[in-house]
């Protein structure tokens, strides 16, 4: 029997072929006359001042870290959600209480970040 996930690879190859095919077609048919003015970055018509690869606001990192935490929690939630019905018939109310405990800790984390002011965008 074939692994079902082979389809993912096939789709990937087809999508890659479509995009690269499109770009190659464009490369063959388009005109190209590069010039200094064309290749400067757009800054409302002025000569650009400096580059854009600079340090940016720390806020973004806070949200990125919070996201990683919550996303991992969500990954834990998914398997539980799939088997929740079976858990209920096997373990009764404990299936709910266990996850309520987990969700409680998770929400406590959110409340902590909230109180510390990390959810505030400045």
């Amino acid at each position: 029997m074939i692994n079902e996930y082979l389809a993912v690879l096939i789709f990937f190859v087809v999508a890659l072929g479509f995009t690269i095919g499109g770009l190659v077609t464009a490369f063959l048919v388009r005109n190209s006359k590069p010039g200094y003015e064309k290749e400067t970055t757009y800054e409302c018509g002025e000569e650009p001042v400096g580059g854009a690869w600079i340090q940016f606001n720390m806020r973004y990192y806070f949200f990125a870290i919070l996201f990683v935490i919550f996303d991992v929690e969500v990954i834990f939630l998914f398997p539980w959600a799939v088997v929740y019905k079976e858990l209920l018939s096997n373990f009764g109310i404990f299936a709910f209480l266990e996850m309520a405990l987990f969700l409680g800790i998770l929400i406590l984390g959110l409340v902590y970040a909230w109180k510390k002011g990390h959810l505030k965008w400045e």
């Binding site: 389809a7 464009a26 690869w53 996850m99 969700l103």
Partner: protein
């Protein structure tokens, strides 16, 4: 041949023919499988391209009529139906400009990274019971996994262009998309709990048939959360901070031109289509319909529901003003995420209590008697 299941029949017939042909040639089954998937993927690409061209035209028409304008009227004759085709042909012939200071390879790869995942999501969407590329058991999880890759592409495009506007657009977009990813995924958890499967076909089955209702009625809050978070995920107004035209020129794709810009545009509308397809499948019953509509093909039913949601998204876009970035983040983290948790909690509780309602009522009665 029964007309109402034409396309599904055609696909099954084609699959059967291919398998026979391959086994007649003495080749292993894997060749037939690969060919089937390639045919399905190419058919999907055609469907996506046509839908997207038509959706862009529709967006222009809807926005125009909402603002008492006419929109494109000339190209092609009837109501300018060929306008977006002409635009795409124009994009194909446009010069490709890469800024001298840009990170050239990242700049070139970003359009590939944005478009490929948006096609991958279609892998697990059932257009009809058997009209599905591969009913993977990861189902909806796979869709979310691939749709979140778009963030990478946007930040790649924004950073590689070495332009202040694109960089701002890129990192703003990353912040927004990761913030709204959480409520988006959480809103579907409650439906997964009710169904007990990730497969979209199982979700459709749980909503069709006697005595079963669409999840939009049993999970109205989840549907609302999903719709709001999805609007933010596809970067549409009121959540279009990443490409706020009036502040950031065009956001992360300012420095893109030609077909590379075209791919960003294409993937934006493809993502909108996939978000609407998932909403229609998970909350509105997918390809299933009430029995009095049983002669209508499932794919037509699904597409009608999908385009209705697409229209709602367009309607929202031309009705609400853009949110400010701090309010946007507040709304996501302080309202949507807690609400999503409450929804899961309540669903779990109700499921636990309603499992054996009579038994629990009896226990409560006994306890009350003891206390009294």
């Amino acid at each position: 041949m029964n007309l109402s299941y034409g396309l599904e029949r055609l696909w099954l017939w084609l699959v059967g023919l291919l398998e026979k042909l391959i086994s007649w040639l003495g080749l292993p089954y894997i060749f037939a499988y690969t060919l089937e998937k390639i045919i399905f993927a190419v058919a999907l690409l055609v469907f996506i391209s046509v839908s997207v061209l038509y959706l862009i035209w529709l967006e222009r028409k809807v926005s125009a009529h909402m603002q008492s304008r006419l929109g494109p009227m000339h190209v092609g004759g009837w109501r300018g139906w060929a306008q977006t085709i002409a635009d795409m042909v124009k994009l194909l012939f446009k010069e490709d400009i890469i800024p001298a200071k840009a990170d050239k390879w990242v700049h070139r790869i970003a359009p590939l990274v944005v478009f490929i995942p948006s096609l991958m999501g279609f892998l697990v969407i059932p257009f009809e019971k058997n009209l599905i590329a591969q009913d993977l058991n990861a189902g909806i999880l796979l869709i979310f996994a691939f749709s979140s890759i778009a963030v990478l592409a946007i930040i790649m495009g924004g950073w590689a262009s070495n332009n202040k506007y694109t960089l701002l657009g890129g990192i703003r977009s990353a912040a927004q998309m990761i913030s709204y990813e959480i409520p988006l995924v959480l809103s579907v958890v409650s439906v997964i709990m009710l169904v007990g499967s990730f497969k979209l076909n199982d979700m459709v089955a749980a909503q069709s048939g006697a005595g079963k209702v669409w999840f939009v009625f049993t999970q109205p809050l989840a549907f609302l959360l999903y719709l709001i978070a999805a609007t933010a995920e596809v970067n549409r107004t009121p959540f279009d901070i990443p490409e706020a035209e009036s502040e950031l020129v065009s956001g992360y794709n300012t420095e893109y031109s030609g077909l590379k810009y075209g791919f960003f545009m294409l993937s934006e509308f493809t993502n909108m289509l996939i978000v609407s397809l998932v909403a229609a499948t998970v909350f509105l019953g997918g390809w299933s319909a009430p029995s009095w509509l049983s002669r209508v093909p499932g794919i037509v039913i699904l597409l009608v529901k999908t385009y209705f949601i697409v229209f709602v998204l367009m309607w929202i876009r031309w009705t609400f003003p853009r949110l400010r970035v701090d309010r946007l983040m507040d709304f996501g983290w302080k309202i949507l995420i807690p609400l999503a948790f409450i929804n899961i909690f309540v669903t779990a509780l109700v499921m636990a209590v309603w499992r054996k309602p009579t038994k629990i009522l009896r226990i409560i009665k006994e306890r009350l008697l003891v206390i009294l």
